[in-house]
């Protein structure tokens, strides 16, 4: 229980720093706060500027699976999602009833224009298309900043809360997440070192603090088994000897080959060898296979972050 208070202060500061202003009508400042309902708009500050967005927009398209996860868990209807093999928790969106607005990386402009959405939400993978999409409909870029993942995730969630008039609900969820972060931190303090490894086609990549899976070290406080220099979002190619030599107490494995078959099956076959079996993590049965879709595809969403934290927490208290 190190400093949940500090975290909350940070969260509050982040929220207040977010200049969100609700105003009645578009330029009609004189009318003041209009009653909630159709036609009300607010200005959303996001990664690529500020955009006028109507409150509780009806037709929402999102390219970001984290945002989709958040909206899904807030009970907001999302009308358009990218064409992708979605993780189990979001598999319902693969149905025909939802407009397919392109791939995870490339928008299908015609489908989007035809659907006439009220709001388009993009993020890192589709950030480059901001200008084109803005011409079709109000577009906001809710990328999570890799350098300050949790604060940024809270900003994004709060923004979503404002747009969809669920601020209280979001605040509650964030408080709950703070609590589980504090919980995991307390466990991490006694759990020794950890190493995050991604397996792909029999080869290994290690991820350190500040990487795309940095949450484990940066936020949950698992002590890194090795000082792996952060190289953007990508990891460092390593050998089995590297794992043997760093000898982590906990091994967190993300299986990139699990697109077909069970998550972790391919990875456990790769890791079952004498070098890895000689580590403390293997000896104490501390090899955790993290859900690839949850960590690799969805990332920061209100429901998913809870799941990610609890998977690490389970591994630490195992």
């Amino acid at each position: 229980m190190k400093n949940p208070v500090k975290l909350k202060v940070a969260a509050a500061a982040a929220v207040s720093a977010l200049t969100l202003s609700a105003c009645g009508g578009t330029a009609d400042a004189g009318s003041g706060q209009a009653a909630n309902g159709a036609g009300t708009t607010l200005t959303v500050e996001h990664a690529q500027g500020s955009t006028e967005v109507s409150v509780s927009p009806e037709t929402v398209y999102t390219f970001d699976l984290g945002v989709l996860d958040s909206l899904n868990s807030l009970g907001v209807t999302v009308a358009g999602v990218p064409q992708a093999t979605l993780p189990e928790s979001l598999a319902a969106y693969e149905a025909d009833g939802y407009t397919k607005i392109g791939s995870m990386k490339e928008p299908d402009f015609e489908a989007i224009a035809a659907g006439a959405p009220d709001l388009i939400i993009i993020s890192g993978r589709t950030a480059d298309y901001y200008d084109e999409l803005s011409e079709i409909a109000p577009t906001i870029d809710l990328s999570v900043d890799q350098a300050a993942q949790v604060e940024s995730f809270k900003d994004v969630s709060t923004t979503l809360g404002r747009i969809f008039e669920q601020e209280d609900e979001v605040a509650e969820r964030l408080t709950a997440i703070d609590a589980s972060v504090a919980d995991a931190k307390a466990n991490a303090a006694e759990a020794g070192t950890g190493l995050v490894v991604l397996t792909s086609g029999g080869e290994l990549t290690a991820y350190g603090a500040g990487s795309r899976f940095g949450l484990i070290h940066d936020v949950l406080g698992v002590k890194p088994a090795a000082d792996i220099s952060a190289d953007g979002a990508h990891g460092q190619s390593i050998s089995f000897e590297f794992i043997a030599e760093t000898d982590p107490d906990h091994l967190f494995v993300i299986d990139r080959d699990s697109a077909i078959g069970e998550s972790g099956d391919a990875a456990s076959a790769v890791l079952d060898n004498e070098l890895v079996n000689g580590t403390t993590a293997a000896a104490e049965d501390n090899i955790a296979y993290l859900d690839a879709a949850s960590w690799y595809l969805v990332g920061y969403g209100l429901g998913n972050v809870e799941a990610m934290i609890s998977s690490v927490n389970d591994a630490l208290t195992n």
């Binding site: 093999t85 190619s237 004498e274």
Partner: protein
């Protein structure tokens, strides 16, 4: 069969032969030195001192057996085999600018692995290799068939046909991988990497070693078969049998290498050409050189990849692309100078 070197030529051949004799010793020594270096370079502390000291609890020796020796052997076997496979394909296609990864062999093997992975994800490695090999044979055979239909076998048309065929097969592969969310896995097959090699993960490469030996003994036949079916039959050889043998050797080598370490680019192109410049075109004589140079080049690139970002690694495929591209450019510029 006719003996390789007619005795009448002995006089003029001695001068040429003395050159390889000295250089052969040097080249073998260089590869041995690189192999020893490869045994002692890595994350864990394995040095001659650590191996001999009593204080060590045997860890160094264990690492040597589990990780270093298998890796070094895998590199040597791969380097030899991929170089020789390139040479054989060049003989069969009668063109010095083709290699398994530019005519569709490697692309077909990848398509094969992909198909198995999608249909039977739990298939054992041997099954994956088998299917990859069948696809590789089909892809290479298609290339050779197309080649036979082309009336004017222009030096440039042949590699172009190969690149086009490879491109089509590669496009199909990429599309399937995209639809099944396997693009990332495909990527790891496309870039050769020995970082995952440990005892128990490379043994199939011995098969590749055996195929290389077979390639050596049949080397002259491939040259003859490259001259066409009538020419081959006139010399009393079974054209179809020889072509099939070559096809199987090249395809099996490509499939096994792709499945165990991933694609090794440029090697099959650069090494045979380099050898042909150095010692000429006597095939029987150039096979050992191709094997030696191939092994040495892959060793060098893998050691470099291990050192550049120590303790992390750069895949050998990436290093080889840089070194191989530079080598190929050198060959092109050199040949132009000779013409001009």
């Amino acid at each position: 069969m006719i003996t390789a070197t007619p005795p009448a030529e002995a006089g003029s051949a001695t001068a040429r032969r003395r050159f390889p004799a000295l250089h052969a010793v040097l080249a073998v020594l260089a590869v041995v030195a690189l192999s020893v270096a490869s045994l002692f370079i890595g994350v864990s502390d394995v040095s001659p001192a650590a191996l001999l000291s009593d204080s060590d609890d045997g860890t160094a020796g264990r690492i040597l057996l589990i990780s270093r020796i298998p890796r070094t052997l895998a590199i040597l076997l791969t380097g030899m085999a991929v170089g020789v496979a390139g040479l054989i394909l060049q003989l069969m296609a009668r063109n010095k600018f083709v290699e398994p990864s530019t005519v569709g062999t490697v692309e077909s093997a990848m398509l094969g692995i992909l198909v198995v992975t999608v249909l039977v994800p739990a298939a054992p490695l041997l099954a994956k290799m088998g299917v990859a090999a069948v696809f590789a044979v089909a892809g290479t055979a298609l290339f050779l068939l197309v080649l036979r239909r082309i009336p004017l076998r222009n030096t440039l048309i042949v590699p172009l046909v190969g690149i086009m065929l490879g491109g089509i097969i590669g496009a199909v592969t990429t599309f399937c991988a995209y639809r099944f969310d396997l693009l990332q896995s495909l990527n790891s097959w496309m870039i050769g990497d020995f970082s995952g090699v440990i005892a128990g993960r490379y043994e199939f490469l011995w098969l590749v070693g055996a195929l290389t030996a077979a390639g050596y003994f049949a080397a002259d036949r491939f040259t003859v078969a490259g001259m066409g079916s009538e020419f081959t039959t006139n010399l009393g050889l079974n054209y179809r049998a020889v072509m099939s043998l070559g096809l199987v050797i090249v395809s099996l080598i490509s499939a096994v290498v792709v499945v165990t370490v991933g694609a090794v680019p440029f090697l099959g192109l650069v090494v045979p050409n380099l050898v042909s410049i150095l010692i000429g075109d006597n095939v029987r004589r150039s096979v050992p050189w191709v094997a030696l140079l191939g092994a040495g080049l892959v060793l060098l690139c893998d050691v470099l990849g291990r050192l550049i970002r120590f303790p992390y690694e750069i895949p050998v495929g990436t290093v080889l692309s840089v070194v191989g591209a530079a080598g190929f450019l050198y060959l092109l510029l050199r040949s132009r100078r000779r013409v001009a």
